[in-house]
């Protein structure tokens, strides 16, 4: 069983191989998408080697697993995140300290892009100008200002409390949902809010980011996190990436983020404009309020549908192949049932992103293969359980009639027990298939495509039309599958069991 799985993984991972390219990764938020595109475009510009951008790879753990296993060669990361989340060290570690820790992993961090994306305080530009407030220290001069701060910032160790102490601020801040903060400051309900220092909305609402003059906030300098073999393999491409050092200021990053989130310009064209002559190129530029219907049937609809169906049915097939025999085993031997159902049930409790991060490291690849394996594992429980209970629920007289005839075990299973359990087994498969349609949207976190790609992109750039263009077809697919399985029931459930009062009602 294990070797079959390994072989299958090998075949699947073969689909994702691409040797002679620089593989750039990014996390699933606007800034990371844009930086990933800029890195990829700068590699292509020197003509040494092609570059592909595996964009929107879930969270830090997933993209880091992808880097360590060599699925990607480089991705944009923040020095503070590398130190705190990946190396479990102080966020104030220097780049030299970080590199000492990364070297044994075959990784390095270099090329400060020129900005830091950290917590910051912001005020309306006109308001700050009137009060002549430039730095956080200047806030002490005007104690009457109203602070509207997010709960996260209020409660973090390195948030408001520490900051107020460090700067001697005496204001009593109000808790404010982060989503409402920009509206609140625009309508003067708050004078000071906490922001991420490169947030696109800073430009839209004309806010001034106050200088952290005491250096209270740890710096989250954007750098390239890369595999140490990359500069040797592609020296010219690496030189091109290195030329990005210091190229992007915080103001520029805010502007780039705004072009993606507020103007709806595609990431690739933002990157080309940034690296090129600054002129808008010919790609059609959709405006911010793209219509849901346009997004829905957009050019990639068929590809996403195909990918989604592949994810759902490949994983479903695997979970039937492994789940039904496991269920038979559990149904026949009460001793085994406990640990089989226990371990299959435990799989359900693993958070999907953690499971994907583990699978990426273990399989050494991202994309379709780890997504299918994750979906397969999640789909096991309903199938195993329904098979086991379907067999266990066969009335004793029927089971004994099979025995008393003198039929051997295999024949009883095939001719009597599985047909009698067919309804329950099919119900489990149906449940798994429908759950899989929903769960398959997480595949986009590891670059496996499907409708999740739109959901992830919609979340990243706050575009509900794009998000719905992914969520609605996924929901319709689930409904379609439900209907399909209802038809299949008619084919697969033996005629003598249909409309049978005694079996399920």
């Amino acid at each position: 069983m294990r070797s079959t799985l390994a072989l299958l993984l090998l075949l699947l991972s073969g689909l994702c191989g691409a040797q002679d390219t620089v593989k750039v990764g990014s996390k699933r938020f606007t800034e990371s998408y844009i930086l990933g595109e800029i890195i990829a475009a700068s590699v292509r510009s020197v003509g040494e080697v092609d570059a592909i951008h595996r964009q929107g790879l879930g969270n830090t753990a997933i993209v880091f697993s992808a880097l360590r296993s060599g699925v990607i060669d480089v991705y944009p990361e923040y020095a503070g995140t590398i130190a705190m989340e990946l190396l479990k060290k102080s966020a104030t570690s220097s780049l030299e300290e970080i590199n000492r820790e990364l070297a044994p992993l075959g990784l390095g961090a270099a090329v400060r892009l020129g900005f830091s994306n950290s917590y910051a305080l912001a005020m309306r530009e006109d308001h700050a100008a009137k009060l002549q407030i430039v730095t956080v220290s200047d806030l002490r001069r005007t104690p009457s200002l109203k602070f509207g701060l997010s709960q996260e910032f209020l409660n973090r160790k390195d948030g408001w409390n520490g900051m107020a102490r460090a700067y001697g601020l005496t204001a009593t801040p109000q808790g404010l949902d982060h989503g409402l903060a920009y509206e609140a400051i625009a309508t003067s309900q708050a004078d000071v809010i906490d922001v991420y220092s490169t947030d696109a909305k800073l430009a839209k609402h004309r806010l001034r980011v106050l200088t952290d003059d005491l250096g209270y906030f740890p710096r989250y300098d954007a750098v390239l996190l890369y595999r140490l073999d990359l500069p040797q393999r592609f020296p010219k491409a690496w030189a091109a990436m290195s030329r990005l050092e210091g190229r992007i200021s915080a103001e520029q990053m805010i502007a780039l983020n705004a072009r993606a989130e507020l103007a709806g310009v595609p990431f690739a064209s933002i990157a080309e404009t940034f690296l090129g002559d600054g002129k808008e190129h010919a790609l059609p530029v959709p405006h911010a309020g793209r219509q849901f219907l346009d997004s829905l049937v957009g050019g990639d609809f068929l590809r996403l549908t195909g990918e989604h169906l592949l994810l759902v049915f490949a994983s479903l097939a695997l979970s039937i192949v492994f789940g039904v025999p496991l269920g038979i085993w559990a149904g026949r031997s009460p001793g085994a049932a406990g640990w089989i159902l226990g371990s299959v049930g435990m799989l359900q409790t693993i958070p999907s992103l953690a499971l994907l991060a583990f699978l990426i490291t273990w399989m050494g690849t991202i994309g379709t293969a780890p997504a299918i394996v994750a979906l397969f594992l999640y789909a096991l429980l309903p199938i195993v359980r329904s098979t086991a209970s379907g067999l266990a629920d066969i009335p004793l007289p029927l089971r004994e009639s099979g025995l008393a005839l003198g039929l051997p075990g295999g024949a009883r299973l095939r001719m009597i027990e599985l047909p009698l359990a067919a309804r329950s087994i099919l119900a489990g498969i149906k449940t798994s298939a429908i759950i899989n349609v929903g769960t398959a949207t997480i595949a986009a976190f590891v670059g496996a495509g499907g409708y999740g790609e739109r959901i992830v992109a919609g979340l990243a750039v706050n575009d509900n039309a794009v998000l719905l263009a992914g969520a609605v077809p996924a929901a319709l697919m689930a409904v379609g599958l439900q209907l399909g399985f209802d038809l299949l029931d008619r084919w697969l459930i033996p005629a003598g069991l249909r409309h049978d009062e005694g079996i399920e009602h």
Binding site: P397, E400, L420
Partner: protein
């Protein structure tokens, strides 16, 4: 012939069958009778290997029943239970032919045998294409009997085969079964809790109580000289309601 040698069975300390030695001779009908829980069904289930004895041996012909030969020996035993035990997902014909097909018997012979059995149990051939739920209780028991007799086994075990039927159907089937038993010349062991039925079928009747065989003999021996008070009470409790006989 089936023989039990010191066979006993207990479930969680409750004695279902005390150590018992008994033989069921070929070509005779023996009826096991007694109140619920007396061990009569356990005795039958021991003979077909659905229950393993705690002690003793079951002999089928000259072979000891064991886990290595139980499947083959079952081919020589027909087993019918109260509600037929027909598989609901198979038509009557497929239920009957299931084992013969699995053993690779030629279809023509299977068809001929089914026709012969249908005539013996007076079941119209057309009903054989129905599913069990589309048949009446009496029809289901006829199909069940056909399934048990399909391979022409020398032994036929019936566990309250008529217990779930209405009185009229039951009466009809009692008559027919007796004829079938008479023509087939098999070793028949039938379990019932009805003394009239026992008297109707049995060449020999065995009355059980609390896991022991209390008396064994013909019906007239039971009437003439009951072995203990319990036997007399049991017969009296089951007297027929026909006036003049009470």
């Amino acid at each position: 012939m089936i023989r039990l040698e010191g066979v006993s069975k207990a479930y969680r300390g409750h004695v279902a069958l005390a150590p018992t030695s008994v033989a069921f001779s070929a070509q005779r009908t023996t009826v096991l009778i007694g109140p619920s829980g007396c061990g009569k069904s356990t005795l039958l289930r021991l003979m077909v290997g659905l229950v393993r004895p705690d002690s003793g041996q079951v002999w089928i012909g000259d072979e000891k029943l064991g886990s290595d030969n139980v499947e083959r020996l079952r081919h020589g035993i027909g087993y019918v239970i109260q509600d037929g035990g027909l598989f609901p997902h198979l038509t009557a014909r497929r239920n009957i032919a299931l084992l013969a097909r699995h053993l690779g018997r030629p279809e023509a012979r299977i068809g001929a045998r089914i026709a012969e059995l249908a005539e013996a149990v007076k079941l119209p051939l057309g009903l054989l294409e129905r599913y069990p739920r589309e048949l009446s209780g009496g029809q289901r028991q006829r199909v069940s009997l056909m399934r048990a007799l399909m391979l022409d086994p020398p032994v036929l075990l019936l566990d309250e085969p008529l217990g779930a039927l209405d009185p009229v159907t039951r009466y009809e089937l009692q008559e027919e079964l007796k004829q079938v038993f008479a023509t087939l010349a098999k070793t028949v062991v039938l379990v019932t809790h009805d003394m009239n039925e026992a008297a109707h079928f049995g060449d020999r009747i065995m009355l059980l109580r609390a896991g022991r065989i209390v008396q064994s003999g013909t019906f007239s021996e039971f009437l003439r000289s009951p072995a203990e008070d319990y036997v007399r009470d049991f017969i009296r409790a089951q007297r027929t309601i026909i006036p003049g006989k009470a």
